[in-house]
Amino acid sequence: MLKAIISIQWIATRTLVAALALTAFALPIISIRLGWGGATANLPLFLTELELWGLFYPVLAAVAALILAAATWMSDRRGQHVYAMLLPLPRWRYVLLRYAAGLILLAPVAVALWLGAHVATIGLDLPPGVRSYPDAIAAKFAITLLLLFGISFALASASARSIGIAIRIVGLFLAVHVAVILLAPKVNLLWITVRALAVFPGPFAPLGGRWMLIDA
């Protein structure tokens, strides 16, 4: 069954997967090659630039996870999930199969980044105090993909009713936020919430931190 689901998911997303894998492969190479020319002369500047390039890794992970999660459910959603729900297997198992297939199709993206990171750092003459982290950055990218795909997958699998409820909750929250801002300008609920989500142990904490292919 998993093979069958992987097969149809691959047919649906192969162009996207290929494009994402290519981007993941190119990202570390471009980030190093663009700045390395004068790096030996000004390594701190190069590292600063590399830190900016580091922002693209979580962005790529988010884009890949969102696109593939949406693509995973698009066809089922179009058929109002009838086909999926008529298949003779427990529904939770179908969801897990879909999830597993999605993860398997994300693997090429993670592997491409790992390969790209190695290709980018091969043959660089780094000072003794500076090291390259192709494996570590690929591992961080992979775990971020895993997390973001899980979240996107859950959102994409939600029913229209659940999405409606979620949108209403967000709308209510924004209304409360505006009201609180008007009553107590120093209390920024939105910022507090964003921080809670982005800082450990928030769900998006793994996106933070340093995404350095080359670092001290």
Binding site: A4, I8, I11, A12, S75, Q80, V82, L89
Partner: protein
């Protein structure tokens, strides 16, 4: 009599003013069960309940001996379904759709699938999105049949199909039923379509079951009779149910009756009424009269059936 589908007191509210109410149906194993009713009467909702696509508010469902929804996967493993709307993955080709589908059904018959593909003149490389309505219907039937189900649930399968496609679909369906002895529940609002092959019918209206009986009983029990009478007749005293009564010219009346038995002609002799003519009703006429009587009864607050 073993039952392929059985529901008891099934209720499901779809909106404030409509819902399935206290629905109890029993589809015998091996029956070709025509599920009739006008558009919007609750046939599709009932089928969705049977297949576990909706959760009933009350009542119980048994499909091939499996309780729904608790044992739904076991029930669905032996059930072929054609839903009311196409639900296949549109980006797949016909061959890819077959490959995907067969992975879930251990009893899949690849030879027959190849045969049907040829019979239905479906191209394996054709994308599902590019299939015509008739081709889509054929593909859905192919998928439902080749999994070798014990039960086929078909929701308006002929709707919108041209006669040629209809004939192909029906032929394949009947061939399967005749060779495998499967049960078929087929819903339609096209009554004459079902008349040709169904041996049981259930009629729904406004979320309720109007009648459920063997086709033979329906055919033989529902009659259009012409009588002559000069007296005021006590219709409550008749041994059959008068569904409709119209006065023709003079003292002649035409009655549509239900529960007719040939030996009831003796009642006319005793009651001073002359029976002039007894005619069979076709399914469509019987269906229309049944609905008319049902709606009248409900409007007057008389319990139906």
């Amino acid at each position: 009599m073993s039952l392929a589908i059985e529901t008891h007191g099934l209720s499901y509210r779809t909106s404030q003013d409509f819902g399935i109410e206290d629905l109890s149906i029993a589809v015998p194993a091996g029956a070709l069960y025509g599920f009739l009713g006008p558009n919007g009467c609750g046939k599709t909702t009932t089928i969705r309940l049977l297949l576990g696509l909706l959760r009933p508010d009350a009542g119980s469902i048994t499909l091939l001996g499996h309780r729904v929804p608790d044992q739904l996967p076991a029930a669905l493993a032996c059930t072929g379904v054609i839903p009311d709307r196409p639900h296949l993955h549109r980006y797949l080709t016909v061959a890819e759709s077959l490959d995907f589908h067969r992975a879930f059904y251990p009893r899949w018959d690849p030879q027959w699938a190849a045969q049907l593909l040829e019979d239905f003149r479906l191209r394996a490389a054709q994308k599902v999105a590019g299939l015509s309505k008739g081709e889509t219907a054929k593909l859905m039937l192919l998928l439902a049949l080749c999994q070798r189900p014990d039960l086929l649930v078909l929701d308006e399968p002929m709707d919108g199909l041209d006669p040629v496609v209809r004939r192909d679909v029906l032929a394949a369906l009947l061939e399967y039923v005749s060779t495998h002895g499967a049960t078929v529940l087929v819903s339609s609002h096209l009554v004459h379509e079902l008349e040709r092959f169904c041996d049981w019918i259930g009629v729904m209206d406004r979320g309720r079951l109007v009648v459920e009986l063997p086709m033979s009983e329906f055919r033989n029990g529902n009659k259009r009779i012409r009588v002559s009478t000069d007296i005021a007749l006590d219709v409550a005293a008749t041994p059959f149910t008068i569904l409709a009564r119209t006065r023709d010219a003079g003292s002649t009346e035409t009655w549509v009756v239900r529960g007719w038995e040939p030996e009831m002609t003796g009642w006319f002799d005793r009651g001073g009424v002359t029976l002039r003519d007894v005619a069979d009703l076709d399914l469509e006429d019987g269906f229309v009269e049944l609905l008319r009587a049902f709606r009248t009864e409900r409007a007057e607050g008389v319990p139906s059936c």
